[in-house]
């Protein structure tokens, strides 16, 4: 069989596979409407390997709530590996993904196909990103197919695709057949009068089916096609097909054998080109056909058929493999008992496999019958919803579910549940910036637990209490609560609460310059990594990094953030990674690496599910950069983040945003307007005893000329600046690798140092700061003020770099590649690379064209130089 108008796509796939095999892997995303021929194309491509290359094929199915990791089950079945055991045993998902990775690398190259990812569950999308982010290390081509007309812009698949590294992602959008091809086809079949193209829009499925069905002349719909095809089957075979049509995706042969006694009916349907058969499966030649048949069933028939299937599935021994399918058929059959019984189990399984959105959906399916549930059952469902919603960043929904659960508890006494709901809700409320209410709930939880036998819940509540005080920078009390939690955790031998408490204690000690703090945190990290407490491990990285950042140990901060993000990436831990990336952005800002800082900030802000608390740092970073560059929108961002930071009450964030606002007003030369607000905040900051926080705010008050006395606790560089020792301060900042702060100190010095500061500010791109310092120089009577910024990048819209321009010049002088290599002291290969870059940027194809381009566009410019 040859495919029409698909040659260029096949060539592209072959090229990509060759690259994947010899250089590094690629992800190919093939999209197009239903019936456009995505599967056909991929089958055609993979068939050409004829057993030479390992092909791993997985499919997502159209269940009411998709089965978590359905394609991985398919692939694992082919690999014949331990993955299925791991999936069933409930070991953490990161370990399963790692096993898969190892299995893939065992035999290379591979082609992995994941079909219909528009239906994928959350966990499969995570798998896609997991593989996608490592694809350049594999000799594997990963092909995914999806219907682009079914995904809106906020579809999780869109977000997942945007998270894949764009260098290794190729998109192929399949187009309908052209009018000419359709006309030729119609002619070959003697059907030129039917205006086939207008009827089908060139959709290959419709075209083929119409050509095969001579009797249809009216405008084609899939339904009509299907009916006409079904009419040609015997009535028994037709019934069999209808029965199979209620099974989404591929149906196992053993299942079919249980459903249909006479297997020859299936053969009949296969002969008529309706069904297809694979080793262990029977499925429809096209999913559209299946849906059309299913939709044509009468209500009563649909219920009967789905009930039949449900009965068979419920009889299986390994019932936990079928939860999602059981729910699907139970919903379609309207079987409430089955939904109530199995939806919570399906939800638990989905959650365990990381498909939290699907877990929520299962819980909600069961909750719909709340009038038939006991209070205890409703409570379980609500708690489940709250937990899963929180994990997927749906904070409002999580709060709603928990509050609903608390209402139920008024009529049903269970102090354990009540305490635990209060405790968890207090954490969720904190994420929603409602920490006053959150703390009230936490106190209620502690009170309840203290009246019960000693439990890990109580230990955890103590540790949460410690966390609350730590965030508010009341470190001594935080350490007290932390020790209480630690003691109880060790008594109960509960490692998880132990690492949580150690983490809090370590942070507080580090923040009060107690040497042993970092050791506590590292200990917490070590246990967490060993025990696979992924979230606690990432939390330890976050805290180690952000405390070092606060204390301006930028290299240490950089080290922990880089490692932490790697760890989070490797284990695919989303929680805390955003928080980490936001702080990492701030670290880069302090290092003076603004572009990197912007990229990290945008990475966080791009995530639609980022909780508001995690956006403060990245927005703050953008605000500061805008203010310094004199770019629009700085004040808007500052006010936005300020509202958030105050709502959260976290001192670290408050100091960051307040300092940004002060700097903005200073740059606008109207710091006076902000000093009242600044002073009232300063009063609060003083109570934290945090030398860096105090220093940062005291500095701006000093800049405004309103600092009455130097605070007792204050970090060294700020102290020196306030004392007028700008030179020593600038040296300290230089030693801390904070160029902007170094330049600020220099700008407070004599004429020469002010000029030096302008150089640094210009290098950083801080044009607002440059303007202000120049104005100050003029005001103090300095005559020789540096002129505008020296343009380092020459205006050169052709986009050539300096080196490429040099190469172009030599090419136009007729030099060969090896001559150019000698001239520029680079390798001939590099010359080759530059030349192809020049050709592609200028869209030229020969050396002669290059020479003439250079003559007409650059000679005048260069001669002026």
């Amino acid at each position: 069989m040859t495919l029409l108008e698909r040659d260029k796509f096949l060539t592209e796939l072959n090229e990509l596979f060759n690259k994947s095999r010899t250089e590094n892997g690629y992800v190919v995303a093939i999209s197009g409407e239903a019936g456009i021929g995505k599967t056909t194309l991929v089958e055609h491509f993979t068939n050409s390997f004829n057993g030479h290359t390992r092909i791993l094929w997985g499919t997502c199915d159209d269940l009411f709530t998709p089965r978590p990791l359905a394609p991985l089950y398919d692939i694992a079945g082919v690999l014949n590996s331990q993955i299925i055991d791991q999936l069933d045993s409930g070991i953490p998902r990161p370990s399963i993904f790692s096993t898969l990775l190892k299995e893939i690398q065992l035999i290379e190259p591979n082609i992995i196909v994941i079909e219909d990812v528009h239906w994928a569950d959350e966990s499969t999308l995570d798998l896609l990103q997991f593989l996608g982010r490592r694809i350049n290390k594999l000799k594997t081509l990963l092909i995914i197919t999806y219907r682009d007309d079914e995904i809106k812009s906020d579809h999780p698949l869109k977000i997942a695709l945007s998270n894949l590294p764009s260098n290794y992602l190729k998109r192929i959008k399949l187009t309908p057949l052209s009018e000419n091809t359709v006309k030729t086809l119609a002619k070959n079949y003697g059907r030129e009068n039917g205006n086939l193209y207008a009827k089908t829009g060139g959709n290959p499925l419709l075209v083929t089916e119409l050509l095969m069905n001579e009797e249809i002349e009216t405008p084609a719909t899939i339904k009509e096609l299907v009916t006409s095809k079904l009419n040609r089957l015997s009535s028994e075979a037709r019934l069999a097909v209808e029965l199979i049509s209620v099974i989404p995706g591929k149906a196992e042969k053993w299942l079919i054998q249980e459903l249909i006694a006479n297997y020859s009916l299936i053969d009949e349907a296969i002969e008529f080109g309706i069904l297809k058969s694979e080793v262990d499966f029977i499925f429809f030649k096209h999913e559209l056909t299946r849906i059309a048949i299913e939709e044509s069933l009468s209500e009563s028939k649909r219920i009967i058929l789905n009930s039949q299937l449900l009965d068979i599935l419920l009889r299986q021994n390994n019932i936990d493999h079928f939860f999602a399918r059981i729910i699907h058929h139970a919903i379609k059959a309207g079987n409430r008992e089955a939904i109530i019984k199995y939806a919570p189990r399906a939800a638990k399984q989905a959650s365990q496999l990381g498909a939290h959105n699907q877990a929520v959906k299962h819980y909600i399916s069961a909750l719909e019958f709340s009038d038939q549930l006991t209070l205890e059952e409703r409570l379980t469902l609500l708690e489940g919803i709250s937990f899963e919603c929180f994990l997927t960043g749906q904070v409002q929904e999580a709060i709603k579910a928990s509050e609903e659960a608390l209402k139920i508890l008024k009529n049903y006494t269970s102090p354990e549940s009540e305490g635990e709901i209060y405790r968890r809700l207090s954490r969720i409320l904190w994420y929603d910036c409602q920490d006053v209410k959150g703390e009230e709930y936490l106190d209620r939880a502690i009170k309840i637990f203290e009246n019960l036998p000693l439990s890990r819940n109580l230990a955890m509540a103590y540790s949460n209490k410690s966390q609350t005080y730590a965030i508010r920078e009341e470190y001594d009390i935080a350490i007290e609560w932390g020790n209480k939690a630690l003691e109880l955790a060790r008594k109960l031998n509960d490692k998880e609460v132990e690492v949580h408490a150690l983490n809090n204690i370590g942070c507080c000690k580090m923040l009060t310059e107690n040497e042993s703090g970092e050791q506590d945190l590292l200990k917490s990290l070590e246990i967490s990594i060993e025990k696979d407490f992924f979230e606690h491990a990432t939390r330890a990285y976050v805290n180690l990094g952000s405390i070092h950042l606060q204390q301006r140990n930028l290299f240490a901060a950089d080290k922990y953030f880089a490692r932490g993000l790697d760890y989070g990436n490797e284990k695919d831990i989303y929680v805390f990674s955003l928080c980490m990336a936001g702080h990492y952005a701030k670290t880069k800002l302090q290092f003076g690496l603004w572009e990197e800082s912007i990229d990290l900030a945008n990475y966080v802000l791009k995530q639609k599910s980022a909780p508001p608390g995690n956006t403060v740092m990245p927005l703050n970073v953008l605000a500061v950069i805008r203010a310094r560059r004199n770019d629009p929108g700085a004040l808007k961002l500052i006010n936005e983040t300020m509202a958030l930071a105050f709502k959260m009450g976290e001192m670290e964030k408050i100091v960051s945003v307040v300092s940004a606002k002060a700097e903005y007003f200073w740059l606008q030369n109207k710091l006076d307007d902000f000093t009242d607000e600044l002073s009232s905040i300063y009063f609060k900051v003083l109570r934290t005893n945090n030398p860096w926080a105090i220093g940062e705010i005291a500095y701006w008050i000093w800049k405004a000329g309103r600092l009455q006395e130097i605070p007792e606790i204050i970090s060294k560089p700020y102290l020196l600046q306030i004392q007028g020792k700008w030179k020593e301060a600038s040296e300290l900042w230089n030693g801390l690798h904070c160029p902007y702060e170094q330049a600020l100190a220099l700008s407070e010095g004599d004429e020469a140092s002010m000029k030096k500061s302008i150089e640094i500010f210009e290098r950083l791109g801080a044009s607002a700061t440059v303007q202000l310092i120049k104005q100050k120089m003029r005001e103090s009577g300095i005559k020789s003020i540096p002129k505008g910024p020296r343009q380092t990048t020459k205006a050169n819209p052709s986009g050539l770099t300096k080196r490429e321009l040099e190469v172009l010049k030599l090419v136009s002088h007729g030099l060969s590649n090896s001559d150019i290599a000698r001239e520029l002291f680079i390798s001939p290969k590099t010359v080759d690379h530059h030349i192809s870059a020049v050709f592609s940027k200028l869209n030229i194809h020969s050396r002669i064209e290059a020479a003439s381009y250079f003559q007409s566009n650059f000679v005048t410019q260069l001669s002026q130089k």
């Binding site: 929108g633 020459k794 205006a795 986009g799 050539l800 869209n843 007409s856 566009n857």
Partner: protein, 90 residues
């Protein structure tokens, strides 16, 4: 999407010939902008060709600068603007 006026200074003058090459350069800029989701609407260039006022649609000022960096174009100042139509009031 917000609209921005981007002021650029070209010390040696902005040299884009009215030729197929010039067209290629401009389209190259347009292509490069796509990566940052930035649209160059049009520009006003001073008579001596040393200053241009470029109208851009872009998600953020950072995106405008990134696109400028990609195109080796200088940025003097970015201002967020709205359209005012004088004939609207008539």
């Amino acid at each position: 999407m917000p609209r921005y006026v981007v002021e650029r200074i070209f010390k040696d003058g902005l040299l884009i010939p009215m030729s197929p090459e010039g067209q290629r350069i401009c389209l190259g800029v347009v292509d490069n902008n796509l990566e940052d989701n930035v649209t160059w609407v049009h520009s006003y260039v001073s008579d001596d060709k040393t200053k241009s006022f470029c109208i851009y649609d872009a998600p953020t000022p950072e995106a405008v600068r990134k696109a400028a960096g990609r195109n080796n174009l200088p940025v003097e100042k970015i201002t967020e603007v709205n359209v005012l139509d004088p004939y609207f009031y008539i």
